[in-house]
Amino acid sequence: MTMETASDESAWIERAQKSDSSAFESLYRLHVDRVYALCLRMTGNTAEAEDCTQEAFIQAWSKLDRFRGDSSFGTWMHRVAVNTVLGRMRKSNRERDRIHAVSDVAPPAESIGDSGGLRDLENAMNELPSGARHVFVLHAVYGYSHEETSDMLGIASGTSKAQLHRARRLLAQQLNLSL
């Protein structure tokens, strides 16, 4: 984010907190890709990710007065999005159907060093059990610490580490990597 954009963002936040929806739309335009990507990786479903993204921004609008700037707005939005995804998952039993045995998924990729490999990684992540997938997405993809990840997901930090271990083992197995 450039300095100008950061300055704009602060102004948009201030205006949005005063119920200026056009300013909030600017915030949406600035952050939607990151929020949608997180939702997509956590849910593994484009329609669900779209719904989660919309719900997350609506939730954010209603909670804007609670944003104090302790973290960046992007991080705050990620927290709102994670809560939204988890809340929707709790309401749905569909997640159960997403848990597959690793042996059932696509054949291993030759390499993860090129774009095809990254696509394979995305696909492999999508096949992870939800607990491992959520931790891997937040920690490995978005760089949140185990403390931040566990806080967002409402789990213990040790559980976050254990889920990361599980995710890495399953992904390595799926992508034919030796760790």
């Binding site: 949608y36 484009t46 779209e50 993204t53 609506i58 990684l121 993809v141 580490k161 254990a162």
Partner: protein, 203 residues
């Protein structure tokens, strides 16, 4: 797995060289959704904005109900007074000393029922607030309130006229009494008034 094991696992990862972790960091941080999601968000925001208005409208409706009942009483009294004056119906013409401004048809309402000074005071207070509240209503809501008032006034006229013909009709007396009871109950809810001003036979 104990805490030490968990820390060991994390410490084993070389984040700078681990192919999985390096690949994960290369993944795009953002992905554009396939469609513009803003219209749905804007609709959700608008819905949230309207929610307090709807709550306000509910309060206005409650207040309007109080107004309706209040005006029902006032309208009833006025129309009854006109009916009495023009047609000299066969109803009691001697208002009770406790009836005060409402001039109820004492005979038709039964000698047991009276409107007390406390009630009148409460009514006047609410009426003053009602005028202010009506001015703040949207045109649509105000029209709805006024239409309701007309309906209620017509109903109370009917009761009073019926009572004029059947002053000892216990059912009609009870209907009017219930209207007053309802009015006090609504007023209590609207204005926080204690319903204790109403006793069984003395309102």
């Amino acid at each position: 797995m104990n805490r030490d094991d968990q820390n060991d696992i994390d410490n084993q990862i070389d984040y700078e060289r681990d192919p999985l972790m390096l690949a994960a960091r290369q993944l795009p941080q953002g992905i554009a959704p396939g469609r513009d999601l803003w219209p749905g968000i804007a609709a959700g925001i608008e819905e949230q904005r309207e929610a307090p208005s709807r709550r306000g409208a509910g309060w206005n409706r409650l207040f309007a109900q109080a107004a309706a009942v209040l005006l029902l009483i006032g309208g009833s009294s006025g129309v009854t007074w006109l009916a009495m004056k023009q047609d000299a119906p066969a109803v009691a013409t001697e208002p009770s000393a406790e009836v005060l401004k409402f001039q109820p048809v004492a005979g038709s309402f039964g000698s047991q029922y009276h409107l007390g000074a406390e009630f009148v005071e409460a009514r006047n207070s609410l009426e003053a607030r009602l005028d202010e509240e009506l001015k703040r209503l949207s045109p649509e809501t105000r029209a709805e309130v006024e239409a309701n008032l007309n309906t209620i006034r017509a109903a109370i006229v009917e009761i009073n006229l019926a009572l004029a013909n059947e002053p000892d009709n216990a059912l009609l007396q009870q209907l009017l009494m219930n209207a007053y009871r309802d009015e006090l109950a609504v007023m209590s809810r609207v204005d926080g008034m204690a319903s204790s001003v109403m006793r069984r036979n003395d309102i």
